[in-house]
């Protein structure tokens, strides 16, 4: 929260609302588009990737378990890119957002 409030102050300095030097956060990573995948299953879920990870299509992104604790299935990345959000588990309802991927990341 304090980090984002400081980013708002920096934005305010950039538009002249507040005085003072503007911090440069460096290059941005931009994307051609996003891929949102929803969960095909419900149940216990343990993610294998985290935000900011670069993933390739087919990489394991998380594993579902049944109520006996047995592994049911490992789900795979539907696209290549940067992980922008991943369901944290421990329980995921079918149809919830499983993973959000930024496609074709480029530095700008």
């Amino acid at each position: 929260m304090k980090d984002v409030a400081e980013r708002l102050r920096n934005l305010s300095r950039a538009i002249g609302l507040l005085s003072g030097p503007v911090t440069s956060y460096g290059k941005l990573t931009t994307f051609s588009n996003f891929h949102w995948a929803t969960s095909p299953y419900g149940g216990i879920f343990r993610p294998k990737v985290k935000c900011g990870d670069r993933i390739a299509e087919g990489d394991a992104v998380g594993t579902y378990y049944d109520l006996f604790g047995e592994e049911r299935v490992t789900t795979r990345a539907p696209a290549s890119g940067i992980v922008l959000a991943i369901h944290p588990g421990p329980i995921i309802p079918q149809g919830d957002v499983l993973i959000h991927i930024g496609l074709n990341p480029t530095q700008a």
Binding site: M1, K2, V4, A5, R7, L8, R9, N10, L11, S12, R13, A14, I15, G16, L17, L18, S19, V22, T23, S24, Y25, G26, L28, T29, T30, F31, F34, K50, C51, G52, I82, L84, A85, I86, H87, P88, V97, H100, G102, P105
Partner: protein, 186 residues
Amino acid sequence: MGTAHSTAPGCTKGTLKIAETPDGSPCEIPVIIVQGEMDGPTLWLHGCVHGNEYCGAFVIHEFLRGLDHRALAGSVVALPVLQKLGFQSKQRMSPYEGFHGGDLNRQFPGNPGGTQTQQMAHAIYESLKRYADVLVDFHTALTPDVAWALFPNAGGEVGTLSEKVARAFGFNSTCRRPWISWAVRR
């Protein structure tokens, strides 16, 4: 705006009525205006356009706590909780319209003769279009490490300002998105 009338430098608080519930009670959302000592741009901040995405409200509160109107050249208009009907029921959308048009974030610029959520959007957008030079709209995702931003790929003066704002905010993952012509007032 609503009951918040800022007539001099300083902080003014009030509410804006955006809807009525089925029992006729008003749905009023908080409005905070901080007018600076000097003239300058108006920064508009809003949170909870999805009722259960709370981070924006907290960020706005934190930002306002540290703001001194004497150091401000321009104004800040902050609405920490837009979708109050969703906020009250701890859900993303209006409990009255849900998936049938209850997502306030999908209803701008709104319609004064439309559904309840469209009327809510209209009530907010009328002021937004009148006063805001820069809009920051906060959302919340699954986990605390989700941090990405969008800005409109508008071209011209608006595009230049939008990119400047996005870079100054500085989330590394920041995506240009197609712009929507009604969203720009000049």
